[in-house]
Symmetry: C7
């Protein structure tokens, strides 16, 4: 990917929920919203706490996640027609297993 | 369910208060609101405190809960016509017993 | 009651100030507001502090309390035509004695 | 009085500044405001600090105080045509001596 | 004066900058504003810190101060046609020497 | 450069994403926004923590960074037709590698 | 100057960027804004921390600084047609060297 997130940020590729998964087909209540679901591409080293230690993240690259509607800054990768989001880990709601 | 909430989040299936329970029939004051009541489907591991320990949650899967009107991000499970909410535990008002 | 409030929340039944009490007849300044007075029905275990201990509440079931105008989430118990409020203890202004 | 304020709250009866006092006749700059002055009727036990101790209040029953324009929740004692305010001690600006 | 400010509050009499002082004639940029300058009449004992000690104030009675445009609650002393402000010390910008 | 940022601030020259890089061509979702990408020109010494130590920054001069849409104060260097941003490090989303 | 700033405040005289300096000619992006650049005339003793010690400032009198667009309270020194700003040190973006 070549993109290294800072602190407690993660990079997520937005994903259409095109097929039924173990978690069922969960869609945002408002059909006009974009899907709040994606694959984690990269994670930061974690937030540096006030005592200087680093709190590692709970999600990892490859996880499929649900996230809040207002999560992250959005970028468009024109070479692949993909939506890329860079968000804080606290905007992740749940991991699909 | 296949959905693992992060941190202090819980997953709740919104529930119509169709029958009288031990807690009486409690409805939101404004009849146009959706029911603020549901069944807990899954709970996260708890919030990580600043000293690195994890504060476990008070509610557990199976609890019937009342929650605030603005609680959570809402998703729709189309395969079952159900409303799924992912909220912080602090949006839970009370547990029905 | 069958409703167990979480953390520092309490359950209050809104009460008309129909008769003169020791505390006089105190009404909200704006007559269009609902009465900011009620009976405590149940109290939570208290707020969990950052060091893990639990801070017990100061009010108890049976107390008659005055509370702020914006206190709590409101529910209606249709079986009894009662207004039920679930609020944080910090929304309680004073206890009538 | 029969009203016991919680935590760091105090109960104040709003008072017209009808006669010249030691502190001069201080009126709110905007004449349309209600007087920001009153007599303390009762005080709470003080705020409970994070270490569990209780910080007692600086004002006491009987003090004449000036307070902010937005101080407190207002109630009307219909039996006496009095305005009663329940406010945090931090809304008190100064004590008249 | 007969007015004792609480905590970290100070009492200031607004003052026209009628004559050139050591600090030059400093006027608010917007000529329609009232002068942001005055004489300190009384100071509170200081803010009580979380460990229970009291942080004394840096300004003292008699100091001529510049303060923010939104500083304080304003009162009018009708016997002297004076503007009296009760503000937090942190609204004081600088002391004229 | 001759500009020394204070605390946890960094100086960034906004950069058009004119050529494909290892990180792909990432553009803000809204084409009307300016590019949220640039080269770090200088970094501050880091934020001074409450215990008096200084937390050094994670980015360094020469890094190519993505940043939030609302990052920083913008200046224009007229001699070079360049956009210069001075932002907090926490407005940096990721570093391109 | 005769003006002693309190706490972590500094006094700055706004300065036109009339000639090219080592830092280039940096102007606010919006030409209608006033220059966000000036000379430090005086600095306060620093912020008093919660443990009672005083954190000295990083900028000093004589420094030429860039600051945020919304920095400080503005005063006009009519004797010299100068704009004087009193701001917190955290509104300073960078020092020109």
């Amino acid at each position: 990917m070549g993109l290294k997130p800072l602190s407690d940020r993660i990079i997520v590729r937005r994903q259409e929920a095109a097929e039924k998964t173990a978690g069922g087909i969960l869609l945002p209540d408002n059909a006009k919203n974009k899907p709040q679901r994606g694959v984690v591409l990269a994670v930061g080293p974690g937030k540096t706490l006030k005592n200087g230690t680093c709190q590692p993240l709970q999600v990892k690259a490859g996880d499929v996640v649900l996230f809040t509607a207002w999560a992250g800054d959005e970028f468009e990768d024109r070479s692949k027609s993909e939506d890329i989001l860079i968000m804080h880990e606290e905007d992740v709601l749940a991991v699909l297993e």
